[in-house]
Structure formats: structure tokens, C-alpha cells
Subunit: 356 residues, 2 copies
């Protein structure tokens, strides 16, 4: 089985190296092939998503992705900026289902800015639709304002949209994920204002008929943002569109205070997927050897489970990560007094050792 | 000076009654005229925003609004649902600037789900554009999907848009608000994905030239949602569009744990405004006499300050509210052991007494 390794920019290469080390330590061997992406893609081939990188990602059974972006690319035209690579991969590989767990490990309860009783034991799953919505809708651009009080002025515009089939397939993913958990699904919309999300709500309600064992509720996005702060543990699985999911999944991740621990999966219709940490490329600490590699290692776990059919190996890595946390090892981002501060490599080595 | 009083639904009438009591207790007398809105408007005249109510709001110097919405109207067609009243008022009165302070009173630090050190002393101001964006953009609806893999299926769609003049005027409001505070403004966008918000960012950057004394930074909306949870006190003033503002202002309000304390103002180009509590109509506790009237009383304060030019009277009410908190009086939503639980009317009476 072939895995495309796309380290990217900033701390990407350091953290991906640790995940690769962990994968190589498994009994099962995988074919790993590396290619540049993001700023690194631009440097190597003049484009954030070079053709060869896209071809590799398409040919592979799964993609392990680090992170992209660096201030030094801020002045490039938008189509050349690093983050376009991630949008291009999602679109070209049809990665419509983004799964983002927000889990608070008991050992890290102190890292959260929320009171321990509000977040300890937090375990929610946000499922974000990833190839539709206002991210890709056409038309978009800057035009002359066609009517109203600002007629004749320039205006920026974009199109939000969801087709029935797009909503159905992400709803199925969400109901099935809920069936494997606490059987509760919250669909987040803005049906009181948006036609797109009234339609979304109607279709999700229709798909629900096929999953009578799952309890479905609907929540407006503004209220969902509030409830995540007020009582996040009340959620089990949340499903929402691309734009709202972007905002809510980051907010949910931050509730844990340990975004350096959170993996993510972006899946296509056949469970092929791209796996990446929920955090960014953190150019400010790149190359210092202090970044937390655990979100990337746990992303590799998700990859083994969802795309490579190696649940047992995934369980072994998950246990190894829990073991190093129990040993008190912490990278700087999750360090607290009384624990042992380690660097990126040491953390990767510790996971490998705990695997044995 | 004439104030339109629109109590609305749920707890609206009870809390507005307290604010009216406080206004009547001032030396300055105002002409108050009441009209039904929301579900109450539908009951009275078959529409959530009856013509007479809109006419009154237009004729008045300011509008004091309670809250709208009740589950019993959930089955009505969208144009007849209570929340359409608030959208209609914003649009028809040109209330483009929504000012929502998120302030944590020292006495209420315990009410937050966040750790005291993260939120105590919180004082941020969110300025949300209120008449543009995807809320009102045309075209919108359900149509046949014109192209792509879902061609021929039904799709829901909406248009996001901002004209140059719309962005300029809200940017001016935001820079001027920042000038009166800590002189720091964060403009929240999603310029890495949306044409509308790349345009937004460009225009805000241009308006900044007129306010060299204000420090401007730009932040993506997903990051802003994270930073609000991680370190909310780092913000001073935030300005953003209608949709992102809807989500972020509610999240920011919930950080305080005391949304029953938070007022809001929605202003037109001439500082005429609509004033309402940041919380909703809470139909579950309506009529029980336990709702917190302070957000509405503080909304009246904003009204005196921004629309009626009575800053001194506004200060008096603000001090009275601080005094009742210092006395330990609390409605159920902000009650903690060691304080005195009071009902809606008692709280209103206490503020009137403290005014004297
Ligand atoms: C980089 C950006 C385009 C991207 C998004 O908005 O989807 C990122 O925020 C994410 O969530 O993966
Ligand atoms: C009721 C709804 C239409 C409204 C909005 O989305 O603007 C509300 O959430 C608000 O923030 O005032």
C-alpha cells in the first residue's frame, strides 16, 4: 500500500518526520513517497500544488499531510499561495468529508482555557462538508454592483450553494459516524436566513428516515458557537457545511487547549483520504525542534483505520500516545509544571519506544 | 423625543417593561409608544413586522426592542416567522452598524465557563455589518444545479456580496469606535478563500489611511473563533461582516457566561438606532418573572448615549446597574451561592431605587 507524504511548510517537515518514524516502526510495511506542497511546492515547481504532487496524491492509497503556509508567501497572488494546495487537493481528490475529533485527554485538562468541569472528558466529532458551499461556488469575483443603493460601485461577491446529492452523502457519513458513537447528531445550519441551509436542513431531515436509531437535532450556527463555549460536552456528532465547519471545528479544537493533539481526516466516497493535524504550519517555531508531533502521529492513526484497513495497528499507536502522556512527556505547547518537557524528536522516539 | 417600544415575544414584554420603568424614572421625559412585533405582530396583524409597527419605528428617534421568536411559530412559512421582523427592521431602517460589547463584570467572573484569569476584566466590542453580505444578497433560492457533478439536481443557493461603500461606512464606524477605546482594530475576514472578503480586506486597509492612530490587524474568521476562546482579552475592537459577525458576536457574548447582561445597538448613518438585548426570547421561561432585565436596561443606556444624546442619564443608569450588582442582587441566570436571587421586577425596581 502506497502513502503519499506531503510535509509542506513551517513545522510540517519536522512533525511529519515523526509520524513517518512511527509508521516505519510498525510490523506492517508501507510504501512511502514524498513530494513538495504549499510554499515548498512553489519553491520546487512554481506552484503550491505541483502536477507531480497531485499525481502522486491521486495514485496513492492515502495522503499524509503536514501543514502549509508561511508569511513569506503572503505577497504572492492568491492562486499561488500555499493554502491553495489544500483547496486543490480537496477538490481534485473529491475529499468531501472532513472528520475532526475534539478530544480532551484527561492528562491535559489543565491546558484548556475552559474550566475543567466544562471540558474534561470532552469527546465530540465535527463532520464538515469540504468540497461544496461558498468555497467553490460560482460565480464569484469583483464586479460592478448591479442594483440597490450601491449600484455602479465595485462589489466583491461569492456564491454559496449545496446540491441535494452533496448534502445527502455528507449526511450519510454523519449518521453512520453517530451510529458508532452515542447516536446523537446535531446538524448546524442557518435556515432562518439562508436558502442554502433551509435546503440543507430539509435534506438532512429526509436522510434521517434511514437512521431511526440516531437522534437528530438542528441548531443555528450562532447558537452552536455559543453552545460550544457553554456546554461542549452536550454534543456527540456535529455535521455542517464547509464555511460553518471551518469556524466551528477550529473553535471546538481550541476548547481543548491542546490543538497540537488533534488529528483530522478528509475522505472521499471510497474512504481514500488525506490526513493532517488540525493545527497550522506555525512558521514562528519552525526548525526549532519544539513542535508537537502527536496530532500528525494521530492523523496517521486515522489513516491506518479509515483508508488502509489496519485498525489493529492504529490501536497500537493510539495506546502508545496515551502511554507517553501517562509517562508525563510533554512538548512545549502542552507543558505544565510537574511534567517533563521534550522536543519534537524525543516525543516521536518516545512513541516508537512505547509501541514496542 | 419619541421612542418606539417593541416588546416582541417570550420574555420580551417582561424585560422591556423594566427598561421602560427605568426610563420613566429619569428626570428627562420621553414619549414612548408601543407596537407589536415578531410573533406578537403576526397575532395582531398577520405579519411579524406590521405596517403600523414599521411606520412607528421609522417615525421614532430610537427603537427599544425586546426579543422575538417562539416555537409555536416554527411551522409558519419563513416570511411570516418572527425573526423576519428583525431582518426587516434592519433593512428598512438602514441599520448597518451593529455594536455588541462583550463585557465581563468583575462580580460575575464566576459565571463564565472560562477560567477567571482568561476572562476577568474582558471588555471587547464587536462591530458587525448588518445590512449586507449573504443575509440580503440576490439571487438566492432553490434551482436546478447548472453544472458540475450534481448537474440537474436541485440545489439551494445564496449570494454573498459587499459593495465598496458598504465596507467603507462600517470601517469608519469601527475605526472611530477604536479611537475612543484602546485604538486597536481587528478586521475579521476569509480573504484566503472568498472574493468578497479579499475585497473587504482591501477596502478596510484603504480606510485605515485616514486613521493612522489606530493599529489595524487582519485575522481569518476561523482563527478569530479560536483566539476568542484562547485569549479573548487580546482583542479591543473587532469589525466583520454580517454572517461572521453573527457567529463571533454570539461566541464572544457566551464567553462572559452572562449573556443576560449584554446590550446591543444597531445604528443607521445618522445614529438613529434599534437597541436590544443580545440574548433571545427564551420562550421556556417566559411569563415566569425570572428573566434578567439588565441587558435590556443597558440597551436603553446605549440608546440614551448614541441616539438621544443623553450621555449623563446613560451614565446614571450604568452606575445604578453596577450598584445593584455590588449589592449582590442576581437573577437566576447569574445567581451564585452567597448572592441574593431576585426576579425580573425586583431587579428592575432595584435599578430604579439605585438611580435615586
Ligand atoms: C487554509 C484554508 C483555505 C483552510 C480552509 O478554510 O478550509 C483551513 O482553514 C482549514 O480549515 O483547513
Ligand atoms: C434571528 C436572526 C435572523 C438574527 C441574525 O442572524 O442576524 C439573530 O441571530 C441575530 O444575531 O440578531
Amino acid at each position: 500500500m502506497k502513502i503519499a507524504i506531503l510535509p509542506g511548510d513551517g513545522i510540517g517537515p519536522e512533525i511529519v518526520a515523526q509520524a513517518v518514524k512511527v509508521l516505519n516502526a510498525l510490523d506492517e510495511k508501507f510504501e512511502l513517497e514524498t513530494a513538495p506542497v504549499g510554499g515548498a511546492g512553489y519553491e520546487a515547481a512554481g506552484h503550491p500544488l505541483p502536477d507531480a504532487t497531485l499525481a502522486l496524491a491521486k495514485a496513492a492509497d492515502a495522503v499524509l499531510f503536514g501543514a502549509v503556509g508561511d508569511w513569506k508567501y503572503d505577497t504572492l497572488d492568491r492562486p499561488l499561495r500555499p493554502e491553495q494546495a489544500i483547496l486543490g487537493l480537496r477538490k481534485n481528490l473529491g475529499l468531501f468529508a472532513n472528520l475532526r475529533p475534539a478530544i480532551l485527554y484527561p492528562e491535559l485538562a489543565g491546558a484548556s482555557t475552559l474550566k475543567p468541569e466544562v471540558v474534561s472528558g470532552l469527546d465530540i466529532l465535527i463532520i464538515r462538508e469540504l468540497t461544496g458551499d461558498i468555497y467553490f461556488g460560482q460565480p464569484r469575483g469583483v464586479r460592478e454592483c448591479p442594483d440597490g443603493p450601491f449600484k455602479g460601485q465595485r462589489e466583491g461577491f461569492d456564491t454559496m450553494r449545496y446540491a441535494e446529492g452533496e448534502i445527502r452523502r455528507i449526511a450519510h457519513v454523519a449518521f453512520q459516524a453517530a451510529q458508532k458513537r452515542d447516536k446523537r447528531l446535531t446538524s448546524v445550519d442557518k435556515a432562518n436566513v439562508l436558502e442554502t441551509f433551509q435546503f440543507w436542513k430539509d435534506i438532512v431531515t429526509d436522510v434521517h428516515k434511514e437512521y431511526p436509531d440516531v437522534a437528530l437535532d438542528h441548531m443555528y450556527v450562532d447558537n452552536a458557537a455559543m453552545q460550544l463555549v457553554r456546554a461542549p460536552k452536550k454534543f456527540d456528532v456535529i455535521v455542517t457545511g464547509n464555511m460553518f465547519g471551518d469556524i466551528l471545528s477550529d473553535a471546538a479544537a481550541m476548547l481543548t487547549g491542546s490543538i497540537g493533539m488533534l488529528p483530522s481526516a478528509s475522505l472521499d466516497a471510497n474512504n481514500k483520504g488525506l490526513y493532517e493535524p488540525s493545527h497550522g504550519s506555525a512558521p514562528d517555531i519552525a526548525g526549532k525542534g519544539i513542535a508537537n508531533p502527536l496530532a500528525t502521529i494521530l492523523s496517521a492513526t486515522m489513516m491506518l483505520r479509515f483508508s488502509l484497513g489496519k485498525a489493529e495497528q492504529a490501536d497500537r499507536i493510539d495506546s502508545a500516545v496515551k502511554a507517553v502522556l501517562a509517562q508525563g512527556l510533554r512538548t512545549a505547547d502542552i507543558y505544565e509544571e510537574g511534567t517533563t518537557k521534550v522536543g519534537t524528536e524525543q516525543m516521536g522516539d518516545a512513541v516508537v519506544k512505547a509501541l514496542a
